[in-house]
């Protein structure tokens, strides 16, 4: 026995060790293990040194379990703690556990009060718990008996009154109900029930009063839920159904009873709510429930839905019969638009127009519909035209002239001034001034006082040198808007231009009158300087040299002695045919002035002058422009903003000033490499021309294509499509589009990407190049070119690597090789000048026979 006791294995651990071990576990928050240790210790240790740590361990464990939502276990642990400590569990701990476990009876010690306020729980806990107990008592929960075992407590009395009130409400005895509710004291646990029941009785007769009562129920009490359900009853017809479907079944049923809704329609609403999450499901649901939902309404709704769900057309036709052909085509057009198939969309919209035109009874809305459709498809038509022009370099393919659809639309609906303005601006932008003028006259007949139209008319009159008309229109504009300084300036400009016209034909008296009128319009120093200059010119024409020079000097000082003023006066003097000595003097003064350090504003003013001179006096401007080049070049590094530098580049691009364009674009690219326009213009100067594009690095091409598509998407706000189209061939820009359409008549010299080839296309082309150069160099006489290519074709056809390549592809490879050879020969020649306007394809220089595109066409024909 002694041996056994002394054996190490069975001997109990020393008490001191256990105490230390338990304390360590407690410190490490290992409460479960700590409880075990201290329980063991309690069995061995008669004194209560383990008591305090065990209580701590129980508390820690309870909180740990509550954290894991193990409320029952947490409650038991707390009860164990209470048993050992002999103290009640604190209310703030037991309350959430009792509520969560439904063990409301555990709260009995806190409510078995003897009317002493100090023994009650704090108000923020008391109110919701009292309400909860009131509800449990009303629904007959037996746990309430345990909490309030003594039947003489006020709680039971209040419950009886609440039940009485409930019965009175149920039996519709409203007058008695008020009395019964009044018997429930304001501090009773049933006080919120009192508000709730009263609001129920009022919700239909006095909804505002009922809502006010419901708002008095605190949101943290269990009565807040029923209160919000009753509040739904006061919702408007529009919002009620949505609120209804978001309630649970019991609540839905209550609202339906109170407001008067058929229970079957609630079920229908619930299903409709679920179906509405997807358009196809909603469509099917509506079609399947025509009887419950009213046939006409379902038909109208489904018809509306077809515009976003055109796939539903067959189901719709099955249910409601065939669709009106116009509607059917409309849905097909919308479907095509949704799929970004613009060609199909246009086709269906045009069919819609045909159907509308063919209708026997032309109702009022038909012309408007036609006009709106034409306006809708107009941007696509213009886009297609631009692409076609980019491909074919002429507009013969175009069925209609530019802006045809927009112009046609105005014959059906001429009452929209915005459309007139859009059309006229567009037509003038493509330099069709005569057509623009005709349209403008038509528009002004309909809208004689439209300021936007009058402004365009003034600008056009100035452009067309009809200065009297310009003044007349501008004066009308001034009557409409007397404080517009821009109009005054336009009038002044027109009057001075008219004076200039008179000076040219030596009618100096008439010129003087115009200048006098212009003087009355001048409102600032620059305008006065302008007028003074013309007065000086007139004096010089009258051989009053000293007076004339004095007036010109005054004009300069009025205009601030800027390089811009010097430049303008010099060019004007030349144009007005002043004495050579005076012109020379003005030129000399200008040269001196241009030696000053450049200033940002002067540069911008000078460049805007270039803009003004285009296109009417381009040639005159071109001569004088040489004087400015050095000055403008000095201005390249100035701190222009992105927008200013971009504008400068655009002006130089339009004026064909490649040297300055390159300098300004390169500087811009250096400062803002991420801005596309500087990159585009720099590349444009570097690579534009017939063959330059072949030298563009692949990564640059990729970026250019991306910029192009981005610009196209945003309607080209920065005018980048033009320069890009001039350096990149259309095949690169529209690689994947119209593939099927062009497959048989592809005139592209570029290799398609998806053709089966024995090696990389570039390698193949290079091999053919080497083969050609080894065998037969290109003829010097262009007339021999065709024969040379045919001979090459025969020779190349025999190459083993060409064995399995289809004939059309062989032609393309051969032509690429030929083009490469010709390019290398042409590279030393200067590139041909850029056509001035891409909107007038006829002005583009004729291609020579050495153009590989042309060769390809000849060859295939």
């Amino acid at each position: 026995m002694q041996t056994k006791r002394s054996s190490k294995k069975n001997a109990p651990p020393p008490i001191l060790n256990l105490t230390l071990h338990g304390q360590t576990l407690l410190d490490k928050n290992q409460f479960k293990e700590a409880i075990e240790v201290f329980k063991k210790l309690a069995k061995e240790q008669p004194n209560a040194s383990w008591r305090e740590p065990l209580i701590k361990a129980y508390r820690g464990r309870a909180l740990e379990l509550a954290e894991k939502s193990m409320f029952k276990e947490a409650l038991v642990t707390l009860e164990n703690e209470s048993r050992i400590s002999g103290l009640p569990i604190p209310l703030d701990l037991i309350l959430p556990l009792a509520v969560n476990t439904g063990s409301i009876d555990k709260l009995a010690p806190f409510f078995n009060y003897q009317k002493e306020a100090s023994s009650l729980p704090p108000a923020h806990l008391l109110e919701p718990i009292q309400s909860l107990m009131a509800i449990l008592a009303l629904v007959g929960d037996s746990k309430i008996d345990k909490i309030f075992p003594k039947k003489d407590l006020p709680f039971w009395d209040h419950l009886a009154r609440a039940r009485e009130a409930l019965t009175l409400y149920g039996t519709n005895q409203e007058t008695l109900l008020d009395g019964a509710l009044a018997k429930i004291p304001a501090q009773s646990p049933f006080k919120h029930f009192r508000l709730f029941l009263k609001s129920l009785s009022l919700i239909n007769s006095q909804p505002e009063k009922a809502t006010a009562l419901l708002e008095r129920i605190p949101p943290h009490t269990p009565f807040a839920g029923p209160a919000s359900v009753v509040q739904v009853c006061s919702f408007s017809e529009q919002h009620l159904p949505m609120a209804l479907v978001n309630l649970d079944t019991a609540a839905q049923s209550c609202v339906a009873t109170l407001v008067g809704i058929d229970p079957n329609s609630i079920s229908l609403l619930n299903k409709l709510n679920i179906a509405s999450r997807s358009i196809p499901k909603l469509f099917s649901f509506l079609i399947a429930h025509t009887e419950q939902l009213n046939l006409d309404w379902v038909r109208t709704t489904c018809l509306e839905l077809l515009s976003i769900y055109p796939e539903g057309v067959p189901a719709f036709e099955k249910k409601f019969g065939p669709l009106d052909p116009f509607q059917k085509n409309r849905f097909l057009a919308l479907k095509a638009e949704k799929n970004q198939d613009i060609t199909q969309a246009e086709k269906y919209w045009l069919q819609c127009i045909s159907i509308l035109k063919a209708k026997p009874n032309i109702t009022e809305d038909i012309p408007l519909k036609i006009a709106l459709i034409l306006r809708h498809i107009h941007p696509w038509q213009e886009n297609t035209r631009r692409r076609r022009r980019s491909f074919y370099f002429n507009s013969d393919e175009d069925q209609h002239e530019p802006f045809y659809f927009l112009e046609q639309s105005l014959t059906y609906d001429p009452d929209d001034p915005e459309v007139w303005i859009e059309l006229i601006r567009g037509v003038l932008e493509i330099k069709e001034e005569k057509r623009g003028n005709t349209l403008l006259e038509k528009a002004l007949k309909i809208f004689p006082d439209n300021p936007a139209l009058l402004t365009i008319a003034v600008e056009l009159a100035l452009k067309r040198h009809t200065f009297v008309k310009a003044v007349r229109l501008a004066e009308k504009l001034l009557q409409i808007n007397p404080i517009n300084p821009h109009i005054r300036q336009q009038i002044l400009r027109a009057q001075l231009s008219q004076a200039e016209k008179q000076i040219h034909v030596n009618r100096l008296d008439l010129a003087k009158k115009e200048i006098q009128k212009a003087e009355a319009m001048a409102r600032n120093e620059i305008d006065r300087g302008n007028v003074r200059f013309y007065q000086g010119v007139l004096a010089l024409k009258h051989e009053e040299i000293n007076l004339g020079l004095a007036l010109i000097q005054e004009a300069r000082s009025l205009e601030g002695e800027t390089p811009f003023a010097f430049y303008r006066m010099f060019t004007d003097a030349k144009r007005l045919g002043l004495q050579t000595k005076i012109i020379q003097q003005l030129q000399q003064d200008l040269r001196k002035k241009l030696l000053d350090p450049p200033q940002k504003q002067f540069i911008l003013d000078l460049i805007s002058q270039i803009d003004i001179q285009l296109p009417t006096s381009q040639k005159r401007g071109a001569d004088n422009f040489i004087l400015l080049e050095d000055y403008l070049t000095k201005g390249v590094p100035l701190n222009f903003t992105i927008q200013e530098r971009q504008w400068i580049c655009q002006r130089f691009f339009e004026a064909d000033r490649d040297v300055l364009l390159k300098k300004f674009a390169s500087e811009g690219e250096k400062q803002w490499p991420e801005i596309d326009c500087f990159f585009v213009y720099r590349l444009y100067v570097q690579y534009h021309g017939q063959y330059g594009r072949h030298a563009i690095p692949a990564d640059h091409i990729q970026r250019l294509v991306q910029i192009y598509h981005k610009a196209e998407e945003k309607m080209d706000p920065d005018h980048l499509l033009d320069p890009i189209e001039e350096i990149l061939p259309p095949n690169y820009l529209y690689e994947d589009e119209d593939k099927d359409e062009d497959e048989d008549e592809d005139d592209s010299p570029f290799l398609p990407n998806d053709m089966p080839l024995p090696c990389a296309p570039e390698e193949l082309v290079q091999m053919v190049c080497n083969f050609i150069l080894e065998n037969d160099s290109p003829p010097k006489d262009i007339n021999d070119m065709e024969r040379w290519i045919i001979n090459l074709m025969i020779k190349v056809d025999q190459l083993p690597i060409f064995k399995n390549i289809p004939p059309p592809l062989k032609s393309i490879i051969l032509l690429q090789a030929v083009e490469k050879i010709l390019t290398s020969q042409e590279a030393t020649k200067p590139p041909p000048s850029r056509p001035k306007s891409r909107m007038k394809p006829k002005e583009i220089p004729q291609k020579s026979n050495s153009d590989p595109d042309q060769l390809k066409l000849d060859f295939t024909s």
């Binding site: 939502s69 269990p222 807040a224 359900v229 529009q238 479907v245 509405s276």
Partner: protein, 113 residues
Amino acid sequence: MKNPFQILDVPVQTDDETVRKAWLNLVRIYPPERDPTRFQEIRTAYEAIKTYRDRSRFHLFEPCEPVLESLMRHGLKRAPVRPLSEKMILDLLGESSRNWRMRWSHKGKDESS
């Protein structure tokens, strides 16, 4: 785009005056300082169907999603109004107390986390 006719609560075949009145009425209910999103929605709807031309354009080209509230309204069938029975009230209260306890549990968890 949401259906502007349904947003303004005007019939599909309407006139300029009705649209304008409906718009002004809604703007009074939802001024920009109180509900800027709703105000913007109402304004966009008004701009879309302001004139006969706008409405015609809208009918032709604008695919728009139906407003659920408006669809729901058509599904609603009326029945006589009745007071709630005792049982219904007690069911509602019982359900609410259960929901409240559940919310309490979640609230307790959220607060502790």
